[in-house]
Symmetry: C2
Amino acid sequence: MAKRWSTPAAESLRVGPGFDFAAFDTAATPGWEGSRKKAESLTAENGEEMSELQERLYAHGRTGGTRSVLLVLQGMDTSGKGGIVRHVMGMVDPQGVQLKSFGKPTPEELSHHYLWRIRNALPVPGRIGVFDRSHYEDVLVVRVNELVPPDVWEPRYEEINAFERELVDAGTVVIKAAMLISKDEQAARLRERLERPDKHWKYNPGDIDEREKWDAYQEAYQAVFDRTSTEHAPWYAIPADNKWFARLAVAELVLESLEGLDLDWPAADFDPAAELARLERS
Amino acid sequence: MAKRWSTPAAESLRVGPGFDFAAFDTAATPGWEGSRKKAESLTAENGEEMSELQERLYAHGRTGGTRSVLLVLQGMDTSGKGGIVRHVMGMVDPQGVQLKSFGKPTPEELSHHYLWRIRNALPVPGRIGVFDRSHYEDVLVVRVNELVPPDVWEPRYEEINAFERELVDAGTVVIKAAMLISKDEQAARLRERLERPDKHWKYNPGDIDEREKWDAYQEAYQAVFDRTSTEHAPWYAIPADNKWFARLAVAELVLESLEGLDLDWPAADFDPAAELARLERS
């Protein structure tokens, strides 16, 4: 596989101590030395490897294994979360992917603890779960819009860390990808949705209300990075102004996680020779 | 689009009155005059068209529309249901596909009416639902294995017709694809699962128990075709010994259904010019 990473994605994109979101370049391609064309062809190659490893993970889940993967996608409107689902996770057998999109909570969801709907959507063993938005909304949109008072959202960071610790201990690899675009790039993408009738359905006037709180969101994201990029479930900051780079980066992170599971094909719990003999008689 | 169908798939594969399953050629390619290579390239082209139309369907669902599609896949073990999900539905944005695989009912499912778990898994408006096995198990495996007495399964055919009528009236296009292989082809595929360690996990000794009831299954499928291939929800008999043909055939059926919905992009429920002005100020 022709790699053009000078530094593995998991290393170059990882949010560590001292990460400064205000100084982050959303148009950069950290760790990647190749062209856009090379990136696209590596993304496709990664897709084939992901497919093969996903099938092993699935087989493992079907035979009593406990491992799973959870990809958490967060980002402002138009940051490309849906594109990751379509173009990256779309390369993998749909039977192996468990996708959940979190919108405004329903009355039923609001009547429960905020992690209730999250727990209900966790990937079963053998699957790659994908969250389009997640429990982080409960310290992002909720904090920015003051939907609950600070003494309610404040303890959530620690609670989320403990929750994710629990997931990891149970066998789930948690990949948290923050899709980060500049305010100008968001304007360009919203403009496109407004100018093209075939994109109107993707536009919501509320998108501009949220855009007007850009600085408050930057601050809320900084708090998320500072307080929830843990050893067991680190954040990856994905510069997403270039869709091709964001897709390559997420494909790399998912592939590296699958490789890290180091799964073999499960051993048969039956006698293949005896079954072959039964088959020939049937 | 270079077509090589002498007769549209929906016509050449449709199960009509007098359909005789015992005389059905599972290695045929009814209506298709092209090569395997042409079939594979047309399947890929269909994937692109399905993708475009699926996005319209999704947009329609997001803006108050009621239409959806439900693809029901039935067939004996190894008939290629999973391959259809992977290779045909895998060509479409995973966000637009709602996949459900029905196994042996859980105790909770058994405590409800047999259609309960089916109703819970129906596609929401705007989605393409895919059932890997379905309510037809309740007149196939249940009938063959006498899991309930005849006076319980006997009324189910009419009940299923009424249920599907209800779905169609609510806006769902129901495509029922029976993946049909010969007994010899099943032996070859089971043999491969037994001979290749990377396929062992797909094998279950119970597969041979079911295989030994081949004739009873043929009879149960014939009853399904005779009694539930209705005007509103016809069956399509897919000769599935050739995987490439089965995939092309199902891709064609799904594409034709999407085309039949004749959906435009939804109109904006906001004023694009006013929103563009708001955007420029933001």
